[in-house]
Amino acid sequence: MINSIEKLKEILVCGGTGCQASESNRVFEVLKEEVKAENLDKQVKVIMTGCFGFCEKGPIVKVMPDNVFYVEVDEASARKIVKEHVLKGRIVEEKIYKDPKTLEKIPEQSSIPFYKKQIRIALRNCGKIDPENINEYIASDGYMALAKVLKEMAPEEVIDIVKRSGLRGRGGGGFPTGLKWEATRKSKGDVKYVICNADEGDPGAFMDRSILEGDPHSVLEGMAIAGYAIGAKQGYIYVRAEYPLAIHRLKIAISQARQRGFLGENILGTDFSFDVDLKIGAGAFICGEETALINSIEGGRGEPTVKPPYPAQVGLWKKPTNINNVETFANIPPIILNGPDWFSSIGTEKSKGTKVFALAGKVNNVGLVEVPMGITLREIIYDLGGGIKGGKKFKAVQTGGPSGGCIPYEYLDTPIDYDNLNALGSMMGSGGMIVMDENDCMVNIAKFYLEFSCDESCGRCTACRIGNKRMLEILNKITEGKGEMEDLETLRELAETIKDSSLCGLGQTSPNPVLSTMKFFYDEYVAHVKDKTCPAGVCTALLKYYIIPEKCVGCTACAKVCPVNVIHGEPRKVHVIDREGCIKCGECFRTCRFGAITRK
């Protein structure tokens, strides 16, 4: 039940990019105004937190300690929350989450289906603390792990703990983090570096952004621990320029951590010194690849180089360098504090812990989820995600971004881990998860990803630079209705060659979206090539427009907009499209007010 006002209350407002875009800043201001107007400054604190994850229902506001979770809060309801909830102890019913299936109103965050199966380790503080205030992080056991490591452990012990935890790189590759640290530690050299890869480039993925925005100190702490373990004094965070809010909060976090002595010289009175600086990316997807990232920090073109030598041996400025991704670092402090056995008790045999996924696309609950490894795709999409938007039929889920693949309905019960996803021709990737429904054309989706890879190919390897282009040309041909059956064979051949002969991860995986859609949705390719139709009704060149005689009232609107004058008919009589000259521009379809024009 709701507490009386004598007790201190906190009103948490989501300040993630998604909620800010739906005016959560304004909601924050209004709440503060109201609290002030009611003279509640002393009893009520209004705090802007990081991402709650439930972006679909933003802006999110949560009142603590009452544990009431409000969704889609606007100015008016923000005022009501202060006047009704805070002052009178009455929950503002209309802004409580309503389960669309049971129609039950659920005020408690943890009981909402979207949150029920989540285990939050990397996101533990997101939506709970003010990311711009280091005190709140410290109050949530922040920097305790760093203190424990510095006071009680030798670097080798730290590496041993990370190894035993089973943590694997969350950026996509899934390489065991402890082994990476060990390799860098063992490399000779007195100068070493730690780099945090925050160049989250997968389209449709925003896990790392949310961690940086919602809990930047956890990343700094993870980096400092890594620095101690491998013997580095300097760390860099390479962050995308597209994430201004994350950059802003990182800058604040770094300066606060320096002030408090968690970064800088002689941390916590020990002889360990470590500092972190930001490096801002300039918009190149390839810079997520570690050797390309290093080249970019050095001020050059972000082109990958041959491995080995690995960055652990020859990295930034030719020094041994350890690179991990944001989510990996955020996992480190809890592993140190709770022990490796705790962490490895979560997940599957070969993939331990949790993974954050950015659930997006045609799913009801778009947002950020952190789930234990081994959960099934079905659970994520249907239980957490609330199923497919608009009651449409599920077609595929894409994981791993441009390096991954599309997984069809038959495999929805696959437990998610690195190896299972690889076996399906997809991959874990950084955690993008895009749901597609019956209205998505799989050939077109493959084309979309390939266009992306063509754009982002650095041009170094011939197979990737030219091969992807050739594949894209073939896909264009197919979606324009000019494809032939032998094109499909050529596609497959090109894909295999590109995979085999590219230097870096981008090239080696760029054909995956095509290969996986050809594997699971071959009939859609055949429909485009042989029957010259697009079953999903997406590829415009393959569409045919028809007028439904029963619905046509003969208003002549379509005939008037047709740029090539192929719609004929007298006023008030049924019109007909002469498909011979139709250029399939779709103007008639958009103009008809009676729904009398259809396309197939």
Partner: protein, 162 residues
């Protein structure tokens, strides 16, 4: 000093910034950022100036400028419209929004409207996938944009200019 065909005062501003850097190793990308902030884009002469100032080859500056999508050698419009082409936005029809914006601004080639008021660009995922499709104008995010909304959004900026 060689003659550069760009605004002198702006060039001095850039020079001051470069002089203020303690470590010039690896500074090229931050310098290009600053230059683009000052000039709005990176014309040839600005790149030459940077190369000489940092003591590196102009080819390297050009190579880096053209490698990263953030840097542009084309002047930008007064208001910069960015359409997110991330997957979530794409499956929710971002390409149709782009088409409509180009139609509304009568842009056929390049990416700037004739009056120099707007330039149009696409970018990769701003991470606001919950609001797809997303359009950004000068950093302000418009979510769940429909084709019908485009004119209204543009008018907001047109009105401001009078």
């Amino acid at each position: 000093m060689p003659k550069y065909e760009v605004d002198e005062a702006k060039l001095r501003q850039l020079e001051e910034y470069i002089d203020s850097l303690s470590n010039k190793e690896g500074a090229l990308i931050p310098v290009l950022y600053k230059a683009q902030e000052i000039f709005g884009y990176l014309p040839k002469d600005v790149q030459l100036f940077i190369a000489r100032k940092l003591g590196i080859f102009a080819a390297k500056v050009y190579g880096v400028t053209t490698f990263y999508s953030y840097f542009t050698m084309q002047p930008r419009g007064k208001h910069v419209i960015n359409i997110c082409m991330g997957t979530a936005c794409f499956v929710k029809g971002a390409d149709k929004i782009l088409e409509e914006i180009k139609k509304e601004l009568d842009i056929k080639e390049g990416n700037m409207s004739k009056d120099g008021m707007f330039s149009v660009d696409t970018l990769r995922c701003v991470g606001a996938c919950g609001l797809a499709p997303v359009v950004m104008v000068d950093g302000k995010v418009y979510g769940r944009v429909k084709v019908e909304d485009v004119k209204g959004i543009l008018d907001e900026y047109r009105k401001r200019e009078g």
